[in-house]
Amino acid sequence: MRQKAAEVLNKVRSEGRTYVMEPEAKQILKAYGIPVTDEAVCTSADEAVMVAERIGYPVAMKVVSPQVVHKTEFKAVCLNVPNEKDVAEIYRSFEQESMRANFDLVGVLVSEMVVGQEMIIGSTKDPQFGHLIMLGMGGTYVQVYKDVSYRLSPVSALDVKEMLSEIKGAKLLSGFRGREPADIKTLTKTLMAISEMLVEIDDIAEMDLNPVFVSSDGVKVADARIMLS
């Protein structure tokens, strides 16, 4: 296993957790060469502003907490934060939310905003067949449209091609209505890197990378959740 990934997993395990928090999940992904958003975990409003200035506005801000598995259930996400004043204010509102909803605020993740087609990449584990990889159209409505395709991990480049052919929305990637065609090559490489990660980290029970932004510039994982067995 990649060393950085092993370190993160050891930390999660040593704290008695099976839920891998977003920044941790992204460190694991990064160790396998999977592109993630530029970001940092901040522990003060000042630090958040500093990071936001470095990344450039607008930014995304998210709560980092071992108790917050579904961020939309809390006031735990703010997108398109435009300036210094709002960053500081939102930081403080997250602190208040942590007190109100009674969760531990480990920090606030300040990330770049990314554009592109929202996709989802995920994994689950079948008792007979082992890890499955899912690719599909991402966002909040995944469970409504279920425009997704599954394969056993590891996947080959040909498998990814065939998965894309099963996803209706994947036509949006091929330069639909004057958009530039998305970088399918990097998307394919990303899925193959995830396969490698799943082979090496056998105890990933569930994983959702959603959204993953896919555009002509490449692929970027904007949110990541991992549950260990």
Partner: protein, 470 residues
């Protein structure tokens, strides 16, 4: 090298029947009768009472048999099976087919009995098929070690592995009714000592097997199953039905990916990725098997349809498109050639609609079929043989001869007949099927079958496998 223990199941030189009986109506009698008819190897009847069964000496125990025993068929009551298995192990029997029910399928008590049996089997390296199974066949050596009646014809090349006994046999007899022939059949019931992938690997290596059909309720060792299947499908097709697709495995999903996945998702992925052709039900399994066994693989997805009914032709176009096939309009040149044969008001486009001019059907079905064989606009030929055409034996014979003539000339292109007719005309279907021109009932089944076969051909092509000679 093939697995010698599985080979002992299908190609035994000697077979012992544990629980043989001369009394009609008993399971031991059914098996004794089946083993005594057609099988060329030596059969030893085992019954503690001794005496004679169907002209064979009955031995009181396998210990009394001097010859080595390759295969034992066990039909005695469940509680006696573990002890019998110990005797088989001591006798160094290579494999045992345990027909007896009353094991893990009945609950914890039965499970304990099955475990006890398996302890003895493993100690003595006896490969176990079953328990709670229908039995096995090797049609090419006349071996019927099953509850099935009579010995099937030799010369077949389809092998069939089924978890369900009775439904498996219903599928098998339905296939035989449709003039299909089999090589090897195994019903493995509770699968206590044998995994699907071991049998698939064996059949993949078996020269007498050209096509593998599976009827599955569950798969154990899914990964091995997937890896073996992926390798075998490149050489020979595997068609599989899997029942129990809708009962969702109880799972505590946290995220989307796991929540959307049902219990069949992993199977579906494994089938797609390994090139296993998925049949939605037992009848589709037979139909797809028939199409694969008798006709060459399609080189593409372009279908040419010739019909004596415009309505059926149009329905066929819809269903073909829904099954991933293409029905394109023929070129001017091809249309002109076809138009010269049919009335002015008939359609020479695709589908070709001959209209009700039945005196000319004999000539037209075969001539238009030949034109499609000779045309590079068509990869798959579907003649719709409906009512009056199906009632004319001369139409069916002429069409069968034309298909075989074109295939003999080396045009590797499949013909699949869509059959829509009355019950009395079924004997005419035999005229086609006896000459290996497969017939499928009605457009829906035809389109679905052809779509599945064409996807397999596509799978092979995309993986760089040549279709030469296939």
């Amino acid at each position: 090298m093939v697995d010698p223990h599985i080979d002992a199941i299908f190609n035994p030189k000697t077979v012992a029947l544990i629980g043989a009986s001369g009394e009609e109506g008993k399971m031991g009698y059914v098996f004794a009768k089946n083993l005594a008819s057609g099988y060329q190897g030596k059969v030893f009847m085992i019954n503690p009472k001794g005496g004679e069964i169907l002209g064979h000496i009955a031995y009181k125990s396998v210990k009394d048999v001097e010859d080595d025993i390759d295969l034992a068929i066990v039909v005695i009551p469940a509680k006696g099976v573990p002890a019998a298995m110990k005797e088989l192990a001591d006798k160094k029997v290579k494999a045992a087919v345990v027909i007896t029910a009353g094991f893990s399928e009945t609950g914890p008590k039965g499970k304990a009995l099955e475990d006890a049996m398996m302890v003895e089997a493993r100690k003595g390296h006896v490969k176990v098929v079953g328990p709670n199974c229908f039995g096995i066949y090797n049609c090419n050596i006349g071996l019927n070690a099953s509850m099935g009646i009579g010995s099937p014809e030799p010369g077949g090349d389809i092998s069939f592995l089924t978890q369900s006994g009775a439904y498996g046999m219903a599928i098998f007899t339905f296939a035989i009714d449709h003039n299909m022939k089999f090589a090897k059949i195994m019903a493995h019931g509770n699968k206590a000592g044998i995994d699907d992938y071991e049998v698939i690997r064996y059949l993949g290596q078996d020269e007498e097997t050209k096509l593998i059909c599976l009827f599955l309720e569950s798969v154990d060792k899914g990964r091995e199953f997937y890896e073996v299947a992926k390798e075998v499908t490149l050489r020979k097709p595997i068609v599989a039905t899997k029942t129990g697709r809708t009962t969702d495995a109880a799972r505590a999903a946290t995220f989307h990916t796991a929540a959307i996945a049902g219990s069949f998702t992993a199977y579906e992925a494994a089938f797609k990725q390994s090139g296993i052709i998925f049949a939605r039900n037992g009848m589709d399994l037979v139909n797809i098997g028939k199409g694969l066994d008798w006709q060459p693989l399609p080189r593409g997805k372009r279908v040419g349809i010739v019909s004596n009914s415009g309505g059926t032709g149009v329905e066929m176009v819809d269903l073909c498109e829904e099954s991933g096939l293409e029905v394109r309009e023929f070129s001017k040149e091809l249309r002109a050639k076809i138009s010269a044969l049919i009335p002015e008001y008939a359609s020479s486009s695709n589908p070709v609609d001959m209209t009700p001019i039945w005196p000319k059907y004999v000539e037209l079905y075969s001539k238009i079929t030949r034109m499609m064989y000779e045309s590079d606009e068509v990869d798959i030929i579907i003649p719709i043989v409906l009512h009056r055409a199906a009632m004319m034996p001369e139409v069916c014979s002429a069409l069968a001869d034309m298909v075989n003539d074109c295939l003999k000339k080396g045009i590797r292109k499949p013909t699949y007949v869509c059959w829509v007719s009355t019950r009395d005309s079924l004997k005419n279907m035999d005229l086609l099927q006896k000459k290996h021109v497969p017939c499928f009932d009605w457009p829906e089944r035809t389109a679905r079958t052809v779509g599945a076969i064409a996807s397999y051909a596509e799978f092979l092509k995309s993986r760089g496998v040549s279709l030469d000679g296939r």
